[in-house]
Symmetry: C2
Subunit: 433 residues, 2 copies
């Protein structure tokens, strides 16, 4: 008999079926025992009338592996409207110890460090695994949206010869008899690849040796990067980003509806026209809303971003707000200045529910501009030989953005700590599991 998923039971009422999965929970009532079996798609309730079988099952630990044949019966009272009667149960693996966390509870009853310590088991919890079903759907939506627009997927090296964007916060590697570094972002490579494919994207790890122990920092994260050539200006990049996020949320809805329901996630409001402020307008708005004097500010604080988030929701019914035109000196060397007012750049941030989610920009594309930008910042050209070669030999106007996958999910499910949306987080103190 072919195994079916627990989520397919409703199509098989009246038939005998084969299920396989984990012993999620056993509840012994006075006259009947309910066994909940969990598989990768969902759970099923199995009704056990046979007292001898019930006694055998009571001796099993949760998470034991079972193969169950039984009859599918419609039962409006049962979860999902169906249950299994007359089961024949084969124990595939008998677990010897109770799990470190009770997986059948609606939420895990433990502190985050304990949950993370026991991630190999904790991730089996229905709510925990739903987070990473959304993560998978987010990657699918990102890629599918870009593939449909002729973007080519690339895989660029994570071992690099020099710190990507200059100096600090880079992990050093023993690379045979010399030093190498872990890539902080695929930025330079994705720009080079615009010279080849015009439109590229990458989904991969990025590494930041930031010694911050906060709920917002992890030292290895997944970066969803895109870069596009032959743009007019940064507004085209921002429009592409909004399209990509629409694709991400649509794919979540299509592929992970159960996970969304499990996590009680409301998909965000992303209007056709996302509210968009110039950096100087954003400062004025913050001043108006809070009375604070921010006229000399060269960046937005976390508090400022929250003010803008609240404003966007209130005035535009939007969970998102774009801010562009951050001062050029505050942004990375490859950021294109605003030709009209070069103090300001064509760099932007996308603020999602009051927190910066995505950074992006139009980039410089002329070789001479790069030489100047590096010189102004006192950065040596020797670390950028290959990168500069691309510009010396013709690059179109281009721009792009990077979305932090774990941060996107954390904001979406409103998790207070980014570690909750990271499978196996790496931070100042955590290298395992």
């Amino acid at each position: 008999m072919e195994r079916i998923w627990t989520t397919e039971l409703a199509d098989h009422v009246g038939e005998r079926v084969l299920l396989k999965g984990w012993l999620h929970r056993l509840r012994q009532l006075s006259h009947v025992t309910f066994l909940v079996l969990r598989d990768a798609q969902g759970t099923a309730q199995i009704v056990i009338d046979d007292t001898q079988l019930a006694a055998q099952l009571a001796a099993l630990q949760a998470e034991s592996l079972l193969s169950i044949q039984g009859e599918v019966v419609a039962e409006p009272q049962a979860p999902g409207g169906v249950e299994i009667h007359q089961p024949q149960i084969e124990v595939l693996v008998a677990v010897q110890e109770p799990p470190p966390l009770e997986l059948f509870r609606p939420t895990l009853k433990a502190q985050l460090p304990t949950i993370l310590d026991h991630a190999p088991v904790a991730l089996r919890h229905l709510r925990q695994r739903a987070i990473f079903q959304l993560s998978s759907a987010a990657m699918n939506g990102f890629r599918d949206t870009l593939r449909a627009r002729k973007f080519v997927e690339i895989q660029t090296p994570k071992i690099v010869g020099a710190a990507t964007e200059g100096g600090a916060n880079v992990f050093r590697i023993d690379y045979f008899d010399r030093s190498a570094y872990l890539s902080q972002s695929p930025q330079l490579y994705k720009q080079i690849m615009v010279g080849v494919f015009e439109r590229v994207f990458e989904v991969g790890p990025a590494f930041r040796a930031e010694p911050h122990d906060t709920p917002r920092h992890i030292n290895e994260f997944v970066s969803l990067d895109a870069e596009i050539g032959f743009i007019r200006d940064h507004f085209e990049v921002m429009a592409l980003l909004a399209e990509v996020l629409r694709g991400v949320f649509a794919t979540m809805q299509q592929e992970a509806e159960t996970a969304l329901a499990q996590l009680k996630v409301q998909l965000p409001m992303l209007p056709e026209t996302v509210p968009t402020l110039h950096f100087s307008e954003a400062l004025e708005l913050v001043a108006r809303e809070t009375g604070a004097d921010v006229t000399q500010a060269v960046d937005l604080s976390g508090a400022d971003e929250r003010v803008l988030g609240t404003w966007a929701l209130r005035e535009h019914n939007s969970d998102f707000v774009f801010v562009w035109g951050y001062p050029t000196q505050q942004r990375a060397f490859y950021t294109h200045p605003d030709p009209e007012r070069p103090f300001y750049s064509r760099g932007f941030d996308l603020i999602f529910r009051g927190l910066e989610l995505v950074s992006g920009a139009q980039r410089l594309h002329r070789y001479e501009e790069y030489l100047t930008a590096l010189a102004v910042r006192g950065m040596p050209t020797e670390s950028f030989v290959g990168y500069l070669e691309a510009f010396r030999h013709g690059m179109p106007p281009h721009g792009g953005f990077a979305i932090g996958l774990e941060r996107l999910l954390a904001r979406l499910i409103e998790a207070p700590n980014i570690r909750e949306t990271t499978l196996f987080p790496r931070d100042l103190t955590r290298l395992t599991p």
Copy 2:
């Protein structure tokens, strides 16, 4: 006017269109000048009758960026059957120096090290970029095939606390005040995640500090990993692998037909039933074909694999041959022994055109078996605490495989050196570009 791709010209005969791209080549004949414009999709021939314009263009270096409006004319002699007449040409970026390699030639006229040194420009060559269009299609095909079978995509950490599979060939990282390592494969994490999703895959970098300077070794590569739970045996894993490869080749055909033609690639012969040999049968076959005495061998040599490849093609019209049952002691500790003959394992290799392309296996799934396997190999359980926790709390029979993306492409296009199918290779001596 909206820009169109060079590959769309045939649909616009008689119209005026806008193209953008790189000055690929300029050929001045006595009465006419031909300009070849390259964009991300292809090339277009532009005919210049105006001698003044021709003289202006002659002053430009190759790889300059151009925006060209002109009339599309059917011309059977022209490449693709169309060309552009009456062009108006705007120079977007005027390049100042000739490129380090002549990109218009059918193949790059340089040695591999020179091509790799100048990768940011060399990758623009039509043949070079075709390789990485196939690479993108391969990833798409891998993922799409698995997504259709309810596999969930995961992203597991590349910074790990201990060497994944024991000891050697691991890069050490300065991780704040201690040591960490670069992941050699997602093996342990993908197995853990079978406990969560039953079916998982990952596309990501893997790192091997092998100090070998050969055409077959690079130190960072892209691993296409899959793992599936509730299998009967390794034959199910092998069947899945064959399905995945069929998906990969089908996607190449659909999405990268031009690239296949450019590279003159014949898609491999992958019959419905892939020839499959037990390790001991493979040894006998090698002995029969070559007269060599290999009866005591515990592994297959490169020469043996070539013999098997030749045999599979000759006898079964197949570019692939499976060998399973490699001696258990020769395989990683998590490999499931053959229950009938535990000297042999349920580990397999897939040999593609005489070279090992994929390794896979059914894995151990019982906690006690892991304790024994580690003890037998003298490996400490302390390095595997999280991993072992998954097995202590119930794992189904499972197995999987890993395909090296660059190796798959190298065999497919019959490149003698794996660096040819790696965007920016990392090896003993190469860390840039």
